[in-house]
């Protein structure tokens, strides 16, 4: 992703007293966009109010796994970033004249706040009603100490979730709105995201093919198809999608065969990504593997034909019939 990371190490040699204070320091790479003009530094643990920017780190369940993870909210820009960390034992940072032993790379990866509410919208949709947002999030554990602040931040009116109408049908008046997830809108929204991302990948000549090449080395004839870029982009985006949606959306976006392709490609497809943050690339390969793991059956010609059928507007048949849990 377009992560204009700005290292903030220069500041440290001007302020060596930080280290003498015995605090545990960490280095965080942040996109230039949230820094404003001057670069400044950020402590990992404390929501800081330093310089011209203010971000707050909150714990929220990750939309794909449901596990608690850290998200950075940037109020001024109305943006949400996922805090990613890449551990490597044998690495340390040089900071001015000092060595910082903890060599992990932490960076903020831009995300869309709508992903964060997606799992709850999916749950709420089962109730087949238009509902106000706080009711939709009822299924979430908003009361628990860990996440209460996070949801509080997320729900701040007209900041992070102002684009909710992009994926929901909305009813109601100015200050009282009721939402219901619309699969058609969701598909369009994701399609746009995949398109933008795949165009960006293409522009940056990111290697998305199965071949492993040295960074910076590209042969003319190794042209990668639009399709490959789209699949790769979808892999990246589905990193933020609930598992139950990944397959469905892959089919809806006409990328249904991601599975069979990535089978052969397996993890290598994402391993060597030129210019992209390494931690991120590792994640994408995981997402691709998740897709690959679902069906490993060989499809007959007729089944492949059916897989290609345009299924926009078709819901999963299981949504019409009762699942075994509540059925017989």
């Amino acid at each position: 992703m377009d992560n204009n990371a700005a290292t903030t190490s220069e500041l440290y040699h001007k302020t060596p007293e930080i280290f003498t204070a015995g605090l545990k320091k960490k280095i965080l790479l942040v996109p230039a966009a949230i820094l404003g003009h001057s670069s400044s530094e950020e402590h990992n643990q404390v929501p800081s109010t330093e310089g011209s920017f203010e971000i707050s780190l909150q714990k929220l369940p990750h939309p794909r796994t449901g596990e608690l993870s850290l998200w950075a909210f940037h109020l001024a820009g109305g943006k949400v970033y996922e805090l990613c960390q890449l551990d490597e034992k044998l690495r340390s940072w040089f900071v001015g004249n000092y060595v910082l032993e903890d060599g992990t790379i932490k960076c903020l990866v831009p995300s869309d706040p709508l992903f964060l509410v997606l799992p709850y919208l999916l749950d709420a949709k089962k109730r087949k009603r238009f509902q106000p947002l706080n009711q939709i999030l009822e299924g979430a554990d908003t009361k628990s100490d860990d996440t209460a602040a996070g949801f509080g931040t997320l729900l701040a009116p007209n900041v992070y979730l102002k684009d909710l109408d992009l994926i929901c049908s909305v009813k109601g008046f100015k200050d009282e709105k009721f939402y219901k997830l619309s699969r058609a809108k969701l598909t369009v929204w994701l399609k746009a995201k995949v398109k933008l991302l795949s165009e960006a990948l293409e522009r940056e000549h990111v290697n998305v093919s199965t071949k492993i090449t040295a960074a910076g080395y590209s042969r003319k004839e190794d042209t990668q198809t639009k399709d490959q870029y789209e699949r790769f982009a979808f892999g990246m985006i589905s990193d933020q999608l609930p598992l139950s949606l990944q397959e469905e959306m892959a089919i809806a976006l006409g990328l249904g065969e991601v599975k069979t392709h990535s089978n052969a490609a397996n993890g290598t497809e994402a391993k060597k990504v030129k210019g992209a943050p390494v931690s991120a690339a590792e994640d994408y390969s995981k997402a691709l593997k998740v897709l690959a793991a679902v069906p490993e059956k060989k499809l007959t010609a007729a089944q492949k034909q059916l897989a290609k059928v345009d299924k926009t507007g078709m819901k999963s048949i299981s949504s019409y019939f009762t699942k075994p849990a509540d059925g017989k």
């Binding site: 058609a184 069906p295 007729a302 059916l306 507007g313 078709m314 048949i317 019409y320 019939f321 075994p324």
Partner: protein
């Protein structure tokens, strides 16, 4: 658990019937599980895209001999089962047997004279099954027509478009497909014929229905045409279509397909 005895044995006079059943579903489903109980053999499975569901029921009365001592599941690759059934002669009968503990199922084909038997063993598979409960639905509209007619109209319309809009009003049903080259309309009206019930077209209508479906799926469903002279299309608005091919005295094949819905409408 009881010691291994013959857990399941069923004899069919015509292997060709079983062959037709498998041919009708094998392109839609990959691997699936036959549930054998003492009322019969049944199967329920979704296609790989999870927009269609197939339900096959073969009642024990439909078999020449049927014995099922305890309920068991046979996970089978339909492609392999089709291969085995290709080995059956036109007039052969078939015995399907497995004991509950073994990991194989045996198909024995024999002719009436009893001078030739052929035995094939297939490996069973462990398949995760997720059974969906299909409620008894009162459909808004039930159309009964000759199965050949349904096959023909699906084939004809798929030359024009990928999906067909079915709209049913009193006394007649319209099938419409649109595509790059043009449009196709097919209209069927009620037709009764006392002496040839198989050619009858009947429409039971509670309220008008109009739904859109993917034609490729309907074409696939039409592969069950050899099994039955008639087909029943059951529809309700915003509900899956049920295409039922009754097999007289044996059971039925039912296909369910999710409709295409313009979501903004709701």
């Amino acid at each position: 658990m009881p010691a291994s005895t013959v857990g399941f044995e069923a004899k069919m006079d015509h292997a060709s019937l079983l062959k037709k059943v498998i041919e009708a579903i094998k392109d839609l489903l990959g691997d699936c599980t036959w549930d054998c109980t003492n009322t019969g053999m049944s199967l329920q499975s979704m296609d790989s895209s999870h927009v269609a569901l197939v339900n096959v029921m073969m009642k024990s009365e439909g078999f020449a001999r049927y014995k099922c001592e305890r309920n068991l599941n046979m996970g089978i690759s339909l492609a392999s089962m089709a291969k085995v059934l290709k080995c059956a002669g036109q007039e052969d009968n078939v015995i399907i047997k497995t004991d509950g503990d073994s990991s194989t199922v045996t198909f024995v084909f024999g002719n009436d004279d009893g001078d030739r038997t052929a035995e094939f063993e297939l490996k069973l598979m462990n398949i995760d099954v997720e059974h969906l409960g299909i409620p008894e639905t009162d459909y808004d509209c039930i159309i009964k027509m000759p199965s050949g007619e349904f096959k023909r109209l699906c084939g004809d319309l798929s030359q024009f478009g990928d999906s067909v809009a079915i709209s049913c009003t009193k006394g007649e049903v319209r099938f419409e497909a649109q595509g790059d080259i043009g449009t196709g309309h097919i209209r069927l009206s009620k037709k009764g014929s006392a002496d040839k019930p198989d050619e009858e077209i009947s429409i039971e209508l509670e309220q008008p229905v109009s739904l859109t479906f993917a034609l490729k799926y309907l074409n696939n469903f039409a592969k069950a045409t050899p099994l039955s002279a008639t087909v029943r299309l059951c529809m309700s608005n915003n509900h899956p279509l049920c295409v039922e091919y009754p097999m007289p005295e044996v059971g039925h094949i039912r296909y369910y397909l999710a409709p295409k819905i313009e979501e903004e409408a709701d």
